[in-house]
């Protein structure tokens, strides 16, 4: 690990002030990803600004949603009674990721900005465009079982690893940012970039900008939401494919639907095409299949991860079918 300077700050104003003054500064949350990357010398900040003392409160909003301080731990978020009852897919997504120890450390802001677990990104002896733009990508012809099939480019196929972010994408969460220029908000689905030719640029953030809160809009249909995850072992593993889903029926017609995918995208993948193909249509298996195929038509699999196309297809159809039977059985619950 390279030497660095460390500053703990009490609020976002101090954090930004410090970040502007220091060279090569990074914000430090729980450290579960950044400390690991620093040890591998993939990350080499000269200054760490510890933002874990920022707000970790979870409060009601005037609109009937919730606003979560970026320093809230993943465990606190997953365990919150309001989130468990009103946004169960978010609790479920967080609890299906990492281990209890890591969830106790990791923050909400840090979870969103964690970096890919692509083994080539981690291994500084290999070529990686994300680590070093223009260097090439050893994953393309390497071991890419865990890599993306959606949103990829010829320079990067790294998967965004977060489960939480997939649930937030389905919920249309809003990210509250603060930077030297002031405050602004961003839809979580706009936060992460697709790699294109610059896979090193991952988030739509300005220099020194900091995530201060995540807002969940009110969403009654989220009460019957679900997060399904398929992985190589039953616990403590990243997703091969995961699906966040919720459906609202009007009789037998799909009135509203949210679908987002994990483990297959270069960013948390909101399935906009599938949603468009489902909305206003009869809730039948045939509709589901057509919608899922519309989404996956854009998939660009490689030999090592081609299985994910069929796996994602089956998982999405299974999730939609389950939502359908829940909606029929659950009434107004």
């Amino acid at each position: 690990m390279r030497a660095f300077d460390y500053h703990q700050v009490a609020d976002s104003e101090q954090a930004i002030e410090q970040a502007v003054r220091r060279r090569q500064a990074k914000y430090l949350g729980g450290g579960t990803n950044l400390v690991d990357l620093m040890r591998e010398t993939v990350e080499r900040p000269q200054t760490l600004i510890d933002v874990t003392r920022l707000s970790r409160d979870i409060d009601e909003t005037a609109e009937g949603g919730l606003i979560i301080g970026a320093a809230a731990t993943n465990a606190a978020l997953a365990g919150d009674a309001r989130i468990r009852s009103r946004y169960p897919l978010l609790s479920r997504a967080i609890l299906s990721g990492a281990s209890a120890q890591i969830r106790n450390m990791a923050t909400v802001g840090g979870n969103l900005l964690q970096r890919t677990r692509c083994a080539y990104f981690y291994d500084v002896a290999t070529r990686c465009n994300k680590r070093e733009p223009g260097a090439g990508c050893d994953a393309l012809e390497g071991f890419h079982r865990y890599h993306a099939i959606l949103g990829t480019s010829s320079s990067c196929i790294a998967t965004h690893p977060s489960d939480m972010a997939v649930a937030l994408a389905a919920l249309d969460a809003r990210i509250h940012l603060r930077g030297p220029e002031g405050e602004r908000q961003l839809a979580v689905t706009e936060l992460h970039r697709e790699p294109g030719e610059r896979s090193d640029l991952e988030a739509e953030l300005q220099p020194e900008e900091l995530i201060v809160a995540v807002e969940l809009p009110p969403l009654p249909m989220a009460v019957r939401s679900e997060y399904r995850k398929v992985r190589d072992r039953a616990s403590y593993a990243f997703a091969l494919v995961s699906v966040a889903s919720m459906v609202e029926l009007d009789g037998e017609t799909i009135q509203n639907v949210r679908l987002a995918l994990g483990g297959v995208g270069t960013r948390p993948w909101r399935a906009w095409r599938a949603e468009a193909a489902l909305r206003g249509q009869p809730a039948t298996e045939a509709t589901f299949a057509a919608a899922v195929d519309a989404e996956l038509a854009a998939a660009r699999p490689l030999p090592g991860n081609a299985f994910k196309v069929e796996l994602a297809r089956r998982l999405m159809i299974a999730a939609l079918s389950q939502r359908l039977s829940d909606a029929r059985n659950g009434g107004d619950a």
């Binding site: 450290g31 365990g79 468990r84 009852s85 169960p88 479920r92 609890l95 120890q101």
Partner: protein, 169 residues
Amino acid sequence: MQWTINGQVREAEVDFRTSLLDLLREQFQLSGTKKGCNQGACGACTVLVDGERINACLALAVQYQGREITTVEGLAERGTLHPVQAAFIEHDGFQCGYCTPGQLCSAVGMAGEFERGLPSAVTQDLAAADLEWSRDELRERMSGNLCRCGAYNGIADAIAASLGKEVVR
């Protein structure tokens, strides 16, 4: 810098790069906490901070100043083993023993999480206020602690016994 470790206030000036794990082992000679993978994958370094379990290998010591840290050396009280420790002996919860300090601290942290009503990935009803212990709950909640000897059956038996409640299913 200052920490409270197993009830004792300890001071040291260390490089910012020092992990909590290295602080415990190298600075304070508390070598009970083990370094396994040193990348947050195995749980051998699990300690309790203000009662909550974390991976000490991913924690920068500087970030945990002023906190109450409990290691495996701090579990026993006045020469009497913690119930989890006694249960590990009774139920053969180890073979080589390298993962054991992490398993013990993790089990203590897990029991606290359960008492506070924190659900897990296998909890059927997330909205339920009361949780029910099961083997699946126990295994899921302990998945952050690997045992390369594969002593999992003994570990699960020991932890189940230490909870003082019947763990069925």
